[in-house]
Symmetry: D2
Subunit: 155 residues, 4 copies
């Protein structure tokens, strides 16, 4: 059996996987800036190609939904890994292969304007079959642009 | 005052605007294949850059949410325009500048696998302040991959 | 081991349980008028005590949510039972004890006016851990008053 | 024109209206324990007739949805009244007649057990056409039983 990964190794590998190996995250420029088994933080910069309303130069609503879903997925993943007895590369990969979004609600509160966007997520339900996360998206000025709730299959 | 646009001119202009002038729609490759004031249809092809799960090569959940939100927005926009007394370029542009997604729920039913994805939307509430649309995403084989409901500000 | 229940016995027992043994269903007057493993139908009559807006004499939004959640739960339950190898009273009871609503979205489309209300539900996702149902509420004239989507834990 | 109501008169009248004049609130026993234009608090006691799962003696999911929708409606109403220039009985009544729930998402986090239930709501979007509130339901021990988000028509 593979050895348990050290905490730092594991975090480094996960961040690498999420940021560099998921094509759509890379396209949008989503980066995992922090995470533990309770909360996560995802950042991305404003880019012209993320615009959904060309007259008002605001983020496409789909970009917001993508960031919220991803932030929720990261904290749920970290929560699942935390509960693994043996944290080997194989067991972590197997665990993550079970994770999937069941449903996502997004509430759009303010137009998506800003230079940088910070999405935070925290766990509100952690079970052995489903987990639920609550997410918020703010810009660099602290304007609360969107929030959401997502249910994930974890079993 | 500008003359009312002929039906074909108007449709052509709107499709051009939605497909070519909205950067994030262009990035994903969303195209409006049909619409009237009751229903809309959006199509996009599978691309490597839309992948959210690199092991299973399935669509990112955010791509699905983007397509659903856009399909709903198109049918709501067409519904708003239908109710305009004078359908000039100016009145249409003003009307569309009021349109915004308030909230969106997405349900993920099957993994996002396929070569082409077809999103359809229809209006389930049409008011003078808010409209609600119901959306479905299928692949080219007819698999029902996702559905959703969105509320839009239209007033 | 108990004998498998005959189809008619089982349906009779379930309808009795849902209609007579669930206090809040009884309070509202919800009755299961039809169900199989794909769809369900719940009915209830207008009553003064179900009013949420006394000036307009329309149903409380919570009554609508209750009926939608229950209709979805019934079809999901029937779907779970259908998949049981042995349909004994014990296995059915154990199966139903696992069923729980994870989340529910309700969309209110028209004011809740009418003499009788008919809620229908059908399954849109049927897995071994979660199921998703889609519901609609109409009055006796066929007005589409509300719809919704709910995710249930079934495992 | 009627005189503006004094703050205490207005609060007293509103609480009386919501608690005593809305039949379904009365049936469940919902009482408004606090509110201002930013937050609200609704309380209700466990009763046998509110049970949805007779084996486990837990609240019906519809009771939870009712309490969340009502708590959100109260804070949105208070927010609308706050913005009225003249706070007369007539203008308040007219204002409240425009208020309606557009959609509601409820997340069920823990079984609804307890002796008393406390629902709190706060405004997360306050516009002149729609408002959005975020709600939580706890029992008397502080267990977080459910949460939700609702969009209201206010214009």
């Amino acid at each position: 059996m593979s050895a348990n990964l050290k905490q730092e190794q594991m975090i480094e590998k996960l961040i690498h996987f999420w940021t560099d190996n998921i094509p759509f995250n890379k396209l949008i420029g989503l980066t995992v800036s922090k995470f533990d088994c309770k909360t996560s933080e995802i950042r991305f910069a404003w880019q012209q190609q993320l615009v959904g309303n060309p007259l008002q130069k605001i983020l496409h609503k789909g970009v917001t939904a993508t960031a919220l879903d991803f932030a929720g997925g990261v904290v749920v993943a970290a929560n699942m890994i935390e509960q693994l007895e043996h944290k080997t590369a194989e067991s972590i990969q197997q665990c993550l292969s079970c994770l999937g979004t069941i449903d996502l609600r997004t509430d759009y509160l303010l137009p998506g304007r800003g230079e940088e966007f910070i999405t935070t997520a925290h766990i509100i339900r952690s079970g052995n079959k489903v987990a639920v996360a609550r997410m918020e998206l703010h810009n660099e000025k602290g304007d609360h642009i969107a929030c959401g709730t997502a249910t994930y299959l974890v079993g």
